[in-house]
């Protein structure tokens, strides 16, 4: 993908030649395209940049002069307080909780969904489509619908106040989409490979583990990234299912922080910005997986 982008860039570096060839209209449309894209990118980046830079400002600057871009003077205490100062204990505790929940939820989601998608993709049996449809119905349930009975259930099975009690329901709600994305990938693995694996003495699990999963790595990366993003950002389920602020995750912390420091906007922004760094970093690293896999999986048969 990088190479293609480079070649694309290369073609744009010889505009003069093009103009000579009378393709001036293309060049104009190229400029228009850039203008539109830059404006849209600006709309995306301004709120984010406002948050990032706002964390370096004083509240006086934020309120008194909301439009000036750069802080003056630069204030670092908002960020340092969150990372290792007054608010650090809260922040790291919430980050830790988020991390544990995300780790469990993502492992469970991807693990269970791969197993199930394998069956849906490669084994024909009576009732398969019915069960698959049952899973696809899950797309229609916002977790809000089930939240009350879910809380009662989680308590009854003794998982309330346990991070597992949030991670498992989150995994359950993420299963439908994950299965839907994985199934066509698994299906696209040639039958010949399966036959070869069987001849080599592989059982179903052997084929799944040694052949299918390695081949489906891009798809697995995609669903993992999506699951990480969705569990990392989950709001309602943790709000209701967790016991006490000690167990809170970052999104809840962000909201709580914004009421606790209602007059200290700079600090709110600093806390918010730091809380999104993991998700953003992860995204930047794994962007190609999201972009490539997501669509190929859900769009193509």
């Amino acid at each position: 993908m990088r190479t293609t982008a480079l070649t694309g860039g290369a073609s744009l570096t010889r505009p003069t030649g093009r103009r000579a060839a009378g393709v001036g209209r293309l060049r104009l449309s190229g400029i228009v395209r850039y203008v539109i894209l830059v404006v849209v990118a600006g709309v995306i980046l301004v709120p984010i940049g406002y948050a990032v830079l706002g964390g370096f400002k004083t509240n006086g600057q934020l309120v008194g002069d909301p439009v000036s871009i750069l802080p003056s003077p630069w204030v670092f205490s908002n960020y340092t307080d969150v990372i290792f100062g007054a608010n650090a204990a809260v922040f790291w505790r919430e980050a830790g909780n988020s991390l544990i929940i995300a780790a469990i939820a993502v492992t469970a989601t991807v693990g269970l969904a791969s197993l199930a998608a394998f069956v849906f993709a490669r084994i024909v049996f009576r009732g398969r489509e019915a069960i698959y449809t049952l899973f696809t119905f899950g797309l229609l349930f916002p977790s809000a619908v089930a939240i009350l009975p879910l809380l009662i259930l989680v308590r009854q099975i003794g998982l309330e106040g346990n991070l597992l009690g949030v991670a498992l329901p989150q995994a359950a709600f993420a299963l439908p989409l994950t299965i839907i994305i994985l199934r066509p990938f698994f299906r696209s693995i040639p039958v010949e490979l399966e036959d070869a694996a069987r001849i080599d003495g592989c059982g179903a699990f052997g084929f799944f583990w040694r052949v299918l999963l390695p081949l489906a790595r891009p798809a697995l990366a995609t669903v993992s990234v999506l699951a990480i993003v969705s569990t990392w950002n989950a709001f309602l389920l943790p709000l209701i299912l967790l016991n006490g602020t000690d167990q809170w995750t970052l999104p809840l912390g962000v909201m709580n922080f914004s009421t606790e420091y209602v007059s200290d906007q700079a600090r709110i922004l600093a806390f918010t910005v730091i809380s999104i760094i993991p998700a953003v970093l992860f995204y930047v690293v794994a962007e190609r997986q999201i972009v490539g896999g997501l669509t190929a999986g859900s769009v193509k048969g």
Partner: protein, 310 residues
């Protein structure tokens, strides 16, 4: 049932097929049934009772909660807000995403950077988005000052305080967060269309727009429909961002079905009624899905079928 592996893709010699199926499928099925389907069915059960969440379930009132809901102007507002977001998403957000996808479906310098930026809001949590935009939209804050500075002071609204405008604000923020997702979907769809096809149309004398309209767009159909479907389902389920920003206010003007349900159940201790709202919300989703399947999917037999009923 036993090991008759006549067809190449079916059946492993050992263990029997049903054992394999069970071992692979049951864990996911169990988790799904326990944590998703069972609670939803429970909600349907609760919805038939007048219940404050404290006492035992004894006051069976049939469908009265549903009647109350359909006669409640607050809930009707919530439903129309969801529908408004759906309509606006289809009318504005998806075309906008498609236009950007088309713009990005060329090789040019910086393309991957733009793609990276446009998708970025999708990975932010709705809570974070809500908190940041709440600050931006405060009276006299960045948005207001920016508009004033640009000589557009007349456009300033009480963004989150005006009952007539709050849903528009909400839609803009939702679009800010999600258009990149749809753009990426559509971009991938576009990239799946062989360039030769459109080129052939161009050579045949079609204009760029015609080539797009009559060649690329139809081929993009399945992707577009997936995008529409996900957008509708997402709009129906709108909750986190609204909860963080307005909690459904002012004057219930930004209630969505999920917000109304949450308020009824958890703030007003009307668990039975709240459950009824949850079921109605689910029925809306079901209608959308079934309509989608009935009227749209038929046309792309193999394409987007996988998303809903592979």
């Amino acid at each position: 049932m036993s090991a008759t592996s006549a067809r190449p893709r079916v059946g492993w010699r050992l263990p029997p097929k049903w054992v394999t199926i069970s071992l692979f499928l049951l864990p996911a099925l169990a988790v799904y049934l326990l944590f998703v389907l069972f609670p939803v069915i429970q909600a349907a059960h609760y919805s038939l009772y007048k219940w404050n969440g404290l006492q035992p379930l004894t006051d069976f009132i049939g469908l009265r909660n549903y009647v109350t809901a359909l006669n409640s102007s607050t809930f009707i507002t919530a439903v129309s807000n969801n529908l408004l977001v759906i309509v606006l998403s289809l009318a504005l957000q998806i075309p906008f995403s498609l236009s950007l996808a088309v713009l990005l479906n060329r090789r040019f310098r910086g393309r991957s950077v733009f793609r990276l930026i446009f998708f970025l809001p999708y990975v932010l949590s709705e809570a974070v988005t809500g908190v940041v935009f709440s600050l931006l939209l405060q009276p006299g804050a960045l948005v207001d000052s920016g508009l004033k500075g640009a000589g557009l002071g007349g456009l300033i609204q009480d963004w989150l305080g005006d009952p007539n405008f709050v849903m528009i604000t909400m839609f803009i923020i939702v679009s800010w967060k999600y258009f990149g997702f749809h753009m990426i979907l559509l971009l991938a769809g576009l990239q799946g269309i062989p360039a030769e096809i459109e080129e052939a149309a161009l050579i045949d004398g079609a204009g760029r727009w015609q080539a797009f309209r009559y060649v690329s767009l139809p081929l993009l159909g399945p992707t577009l429909r997936v995008s529409v479907f996900l957008s509708m389902i997402g709009a129906l389920q709108l909750f986190d961002m609204v909860w963080v920003m307005t909690a459904g206010g002012p004057l219930n003007a930004s209630n969505t079905m999920a917000i109304a349900m949450f308020k009824a159940g958890f703030k007003n201790s009307q668990m039975g009624y709240g459950s009824a709202l949850a079921v109605i919300l689910f029925l809306f989703g079901l209608v959308v899905a079934l309509a989608y399947q009935r009227f749209v999917l038929r046309r792309d037999v193999e394409g987007a079928l996988t998303v809903f009923n592979g």
